[in-house]
Symmetry: C2
Subunit: 400 residues, 2 copies
Amino acid sequence: MSLVVQKFGGSSVANAERVMNVAKIVTNTYKNGNSVVVVVSAQGDTTDDLIEKAREINPDASKREMDMLLASGEQISIALLAMAIEKLGYPVISLLGWQAGFLTSSSYSSARIKRVNAERIRKELDKNNIVVVAGFQGINRYDDVTTLGRGGSDTSAVAIAAAMKADLCQIFTDVEGVYTADPRKVPKATKLKEISYDEMLELATLGAQVLNNRSVEMAKKYNIELEVLSSMTNKPGTIVKEVANMEKMLISGVAKDENVARISVIGVPDIPGLAFKLFSKLSAKNINVDIILQSIGRDGTKDITFTVAKEKGKEALTTLESFKSTIGASDILYDDKVAKISIVGAGMESHAGVASSMFEALYEAHINIQMISTSEIKVSVLINLDDADRAVSAIHDKLF
Amino acid sequence: MSLVVQKFGGSSVANAERVMNVAKIVTNTYKNGNSVVVVVSAQGDTTDDLIEKAREINPDASKREMDMLLASGEQISIALLAMAIEKLGYPVISLLGWQAGFLTSSSYSSARIKRVNAERIRKELDKNNIVVVAGFQGINRYDDVTTLGRGGSDTSAVAIAAAMKADLCQIFTDVEGVYTADPRKVPKATKLKEISYDEMLELATLGAQVLNNRSVEMAKKYNIELEVLSSMTNKPGTIVKEVANMEKMLISGVAKDENVARISVIGVPDIPGLAFKLFSKLSAKNINVDIILQSIGRDGTKDITFTVAKEKGKEALTTLESFKSTIGASDILYDDKVAKISIVGAGMESHAGVASSMFEALYEAHINIQMISTSEIKVSVLINLDDADRAVSAIHDKLF
């Protein structure tokens, strides 16, 4: 008998029919002799509706009260799913975050899981209950309700799997698994059978939003085998684990990230310590920098170009504008009509040709590369936003 | 500095505007130097909407999961009210039933409050916070969420007032207080300044649904002064306390209860123990009997007539039908087109004329009396349902 943790996102439980569908998946797993813990998010648009209710009353509501409000969303979905499972005739019990033992940090709206005290879950499994747990939420040391932030339910599921040493953690979404590219944009994209944690992390960071990043990090840390699969179709998904059998595939996927803005600081003096000065001002404002490109000094000056998340773009720009004379820049340029296209793959390291194939594909498609960044298992390029989808297709066609 | 508990029902917090209105009432009380604990119900139709969601999935859902579902309603309203109070610039914190220390029995959907461990509330008041508590809910000894049943938020408020020895417990509703009759039906009805617990209890039982009965019983037990008032108008309401100054008024009100069915068991043998046999069969089915009338034995037989709540009527009838031969009845009659009209008043006891004035009013209005029942502070009559509103007006006109 195996212990399986199954997580269903908001769209999987959006209405009565889908809740019944999830109940069928869960009870089938139970019927096959497994112990089952189910983690669910709030139904469909519930969270957005609650945020709207709050905005009407107080757009600057405290995060503590926002968490109190939002946590009601999962409370509704766990109760409804438990009722659906009761309807199918199986023993079930729903548990809120605090009942399931989720102890978190105190940072409301983006709390970190500190510990899962799984005693209650274990007790309910011993009674042969299917256990339905509210994802996304916990309590802090003051006994106050906290939420884990967007995508937190994935993390809840992996945390339970880790605490209980589950045999498998299945993440059900509205896609059938992890693809070599976005299947809605690239018709030839194929589903991967397996992918390693590291590759999945790079893909998640790069905007392929199949799995929440924190959940993959946690799965890697505790070596929890994940499966990403669809709640709508009855097909095997993609397994995420330590060493994936990539079937000699060089790259696991092509990802697109449109949440990027590019900033160029032009004509700064070519003296030591300048990059430090510049980026420390940004980090003081909690602005993370991604790709950095520095030109070779000429005439005693150089240009520094880097990317930030689009929503931080304007803030980064104003911050630097105010230091323009201090750092001695002649100009600061800003562009948020850009996209980052990346290829990811553990096999890349030993195959120098992969990056050049990528550049070749872009060249053939007449797409200009603004910046390049590489890591051991990743190559990213910054290009024009308008070229993004075309670039993904071209690269995918060339490499697969 | 006084400690005031204020309770607001679902219609008082039905939308953003009304939530802001409640926030103003609460913060005004706080501004005047009081410590304030606020108890709120779920917004407007939330509870009914949640019940509908459950029905769609499983009409026979367990009570435990129904309680889990319904408790989310107050969670939403406490968070929104806290946000509204934040908006007005006052320190506030919202607490769920379990956080506020509500320990209840385990009977889901109709749990009884066992104890309020008010430590957390006290701590928050010491920090000068306005404390907003979710009514209607608590947890049982298994740490599972329970609800107190309809009208439970009144009871929550009184329980907090009792646990904290509050100086006043204000119950805000959509009426301005307790009236001598339903003001929507009887234009001449007047608002009472004061009423005693016992009179209020009789009125509540009799269908004047201003206050939940359990809350009045608890207020009487712990001698908590209640005030019933409207959240929409800024007027003093009705005070409910041990000894009310009735300003020489004989009766405090005329109440109508349409939730009644009458059952007559005809021609049973006139022997001892028969009433016991009959009513023990009903109590075994948890059916409460209200007015009982037994005819004087004639020809060795007698008739027993009694009333039950309308929703229990058919069940009572079938129960008795199955025992018809055992108890030797010749016939069983059933009528649920009846209403109970009652006058209540502590002054009644010493004024024999009150009851006869009531009968006179009905006689003049050509309304036939089917049954009569009296207690120290109450006279009830059972009449035709069609005559009910006319009867209330006639009695009110005669007595006030």
